[in-house]
Amino acid sequence: MTLGEWAAVALVVLPLLAAIGAFVVPRAALALALVAVVIVLAAAGVLVFQVLSVGPWRQTLGGWPAPLGIAWHADGLSGAMLLLTAGVATCAGAYRAAEPGAAGNMLVAQRFFWPLWLFLVAGLNALFLSADLFNIYVAQELMGLSAVALIALAVGTPALAAAWSYLLATLLGSSLYLLGVSLLYGRYGVLDIGLLTDVFEADLASVLAAVVMTLGLLLKAAVFPLHFWLPAAHGKAPTAVSAVLSAVVVAAPFYLAVRLWLGPFAELLGQGGATLLGLLGVAAILWGGLQALLQRRLKMLIAYSTVSQFGFGMLVFPLAVDADSSQLAWTGAVLLVLAHGLAKAALFWRRAACC
């Protein structure tokens, strides 16, 4: 195995193992978690370096080729997302470890924070690496469930209610996504995104699949008008968690939507899909911005601004229709998501430090 392959394996396996370790031995949880994320950060760096020097990279797990087996895939987009995840997760871990008063009164929260947080990192990494639609579904569930539990760790009823509505939203989104995946499998008999891109045709079953999958992903990415769960969930969660939620957990379904629409569904973009997605984006920018202005609590303001920012992200679809500007639109969207992730995480931490 090459260095890149080792790095990819470490990205997923290490947080998983560390999560189990942190759950079994709570005393060593902090050390385990910090060591794990630092290695994950290094592995993401190695992977990005590999992609930059050699180009997109693909690995078939267990040596099984694509129609039956699961492939991992890393290109510029997933590399950037992996690096963002690792960076934000490392900072969030450091923030949490240094948080004053975290050790005292919330024993349950202390015990479960690190395992859940590591599971979240593992789910995100698996999602960004995988090229298999069903594997991505499982990674999404891992990510969603740990995010829900992390929100619920915050003390008080509002956090529980927020976690509850996030749970319902994310599970409905996953069910819609899985419905789309099964429609696509029934039509083409493949689950690999690359293979699907080659065979995709715009017929009834495929369009239906594209619609339900996109609906599910937009619900998870909190794109207007499906954003109802986001402000409460991000505003009520513990600060270290809010940052990761805003920076990467929302970006993950958005990343997947970009993957799908610029991959298999690209054919549908020209047929009204792009306009519709773009209009949703515009509505999200306006509505999210307006709501952010009307908020009285800083944390809610930051949360609504996430809705608005992902509206800007949605503009990638109408821009990508034109073949000339497609590359530029891509780069812009990746840059936006990266910048938003870093800025939003920093904002959440800064807010906690001053108020």
């Binding site: 619920a152 409905l172 069910s175």
Partner: protein, 97 residues
């Protein structure tokens, strides 16, 4: 084909249940109906190919495990949700939780 129509109908039932149910437990059950309908669709898809396709079966098995986990998390959260007001026989709370 009949099973696919049935799966579609179940999906509709699950969706309407999720949006119309007031009690959290009913919402969890609706989500379970929703995923069951997707599994039915997958098994129906597997039945169509000749010889039988094993991949959808593997997906359904994994999906069942995932659904069990999500239901467990949902239930664990549900029991902590404060539900104000007593419930009537149909499980509808008198106040919104």
């Amino acid at each position: 084909m009949m099973y696919m129509v049935l799966a579609g109908a179940l999906f509709g039932i699950g969706l309407s249940g999720l949006f119309s149910a007031r009690h959290p437990l009913r919402k969890v059950l609706s989500l379970n109906v929703l995923s069951a309908s997707v599994f039915l669709l997958l098994v129906a898809v597997a039945r169509q190919s000749e010889p039988l396709d094993a991949v959808p079966h593997a997906i359904v098995l994994t999906g069942i495990v995932v659904t069990v986990s999500t239901t467990a998390v949902a239930l664990a959260l549900l029991v902590r949700l404060p539900i104000r007001g007593r419930q009537d026989a149909a499980g509808r709370p008198k106040e919104r939780p």
